[in-house]
Symmetry: C2
Subunit: 139 residues, 2 copies
Amino acid sequence: MNIYFACSITGGREFESVYQAIVHALVEQGHEVPTAHLAESGVGVVEAVIHPNEVYERDVAWIRACDVLIAEVSVPSHGVGYEIGFALGLGKPVLALYQEGCKVSKMISGNPDSNLTVSLYRTPDDAIQIIGDFLSKAW
Amino acid sequence: MNIYFACSITGGREFESVYQAIVHALVEQGHEVPTAHLAESGVGVVEAVIHPNEVYERDVAWIRACDVLIAEVSVPSHGVGYEIGFALGLGKPVLALYQEGCKVSKMISGNPDSNLTVSLYRTPDDAIQIIGDFLSKAW
């Protein structure tokens, strides 16, 4: 499957190790993850040299092409919030994951869109298990 | 005019005094601001007791009814990112304001939508001046 993985870049990288665990698991399972590099360390520096409009057009094209969008929403991010809304607007299945104890915006936790699943996880392995269940239902 | 003012609630309240300066100015100028209470101190506690879906449905209805959306984007927020995307999807004029020195997601700064204006401000008075210019052009 083609999976758009959405995570905070400008908003904060406290959950970078979780992003990496998720992306590595997805790639190992044979999925295509065009945003895989966004989970890597130092991505802020790499992305900073690309023109903002180029990043926008690239990410929007990837969302249009994806089968599902998986977002890690433990850390607030304008970009991830925008991407979730954009993907739902296109009718894509979306999974929003957050670590237990993190607060999630009510624009996400209260969104009744039947294509949106919001789940909490305790460990990265737990998150990967939840993603597996989501993908088996979404496809 | 009916103005939806979008600001971070769950994401962080470091810019609360700016939110208040903006909302007070808009209300003094005679505009209708359904989200005015979201700029006030202690809003997190007030909103916490409302069911997430109720907040979502209320905010989405307000965006549908507004003439323009003005977002303060200095602090990352999933909700504000979602709201900007939702308003642009409806063809509403959107102004995204951030304080000089703050980093803005490229999904906002790089968004080529002709209805979106992204501006930096130095002081709350500066922000209010920029809003005045935006409103005079948007209407």
